[in-house]
Amino acid sequence: MSQLFCVFSIGIVLVFIAGLYCLIATLNLIRAIIGLELLTKAVTLFIILAGYVTGRTALAQALAITLIVIEVVVIAVAAGVILCVFRHNKSVNGRLLRNIKG
């Protein structure tokens, strides 16, 4: 059990690094959301793993389902924002958002 936790923890950290790098390196807003998705997936897997290791899979599943619902809403709203940005700027480059007043 402990070995499984260690192996999965390493994988989770690697997926988290991939998502974080994507989020930091890109200026494309769609790719930024993809990076955010990867970060969320790493967190979801960690919750499930923690539940499995501690024998509280039901609680872990309840939390994971909540996280998935929040993830979908965030992605839907972010997609809407990206479409609005595209309508205004004809581009999805995040650098153009610096021109916003305020």
């Binding site: 619902v69 929040i70 993830e71 809403v73 992605i75 709203v77």
Partner: protein, 162 residues
């Protein structure tokens, strides 16, 4: 354990491919594959309900959202695509190196393999936990869904004065 390790390696590779591939549709497909593999791992970790949610919502719905956004974007020329691919490679060549170094470093760290686990809980049915113990979470989910729907409605609201 061997199957879990293989699935974990596939998960990391698909996540890496999602980030590394220069074309956005492929990136969205990579994300869907990552979600599918994650749902298999969840199923193996005794979390079937969360695995079903992950498969249907993250691999299905979110991929559809991504593909529809990408399809609304204009097509780029072959020349632009070549330039973008080169730029993409310059940005992301470091990522596989970082991932490999992190994997080696974490293996060398020898994370603590012996820790005390808490006692088995009395109730371990996800439906009872979700509806009885965590009902405030459900309320929060409803509020977040309504907020998201309201936010999207506001974003796409047509102005009366054009």
């Amino acid at each position: 354990m061997v199957i879990n390790t293989i699935l974990l390696i596939v998960l990391v590779i698909s996540a890496l491919w999602t980030v590394m591939t220069p074309r956005l549709p492929r990136s969205a497909m990579g994300l869907a594959i990552t979600s599918a593999v994650l749902s298999i791992i969840m199923f193996r970790l005794s979390s079937p309900l969360a695995a079903v949610f992950e498969l249907s919502i993250c691999a299905g719905l979110i991929s559809a959202i991504f593909i529809s956004i990408i399809s609304l974007m204009p097509r780029i020329t072959a020349k632009d695509r070549d330039i973008r691919q080169k730029e993409h490679f310059h940005k992301y060549w470091l990522l596989p190196v970082i991932i490999a170094m992190a994997a080696i470093a974490l293996n060398l760290l020898h994370l603590p393999a012996n820790f005390n686990l808490p006692a088995q809980p009395v109730e371990n049915d996800v439906r009872i936990i979700l509806w009885n113990s965590r009902h405030l979470d459900l309320l929060g989910q409803i509020v977040i869904l309504l907020a998201g729907a309201f936010g999207v409605a506001i974003l796409f609201k047509e102005r009366k004065n054009g």
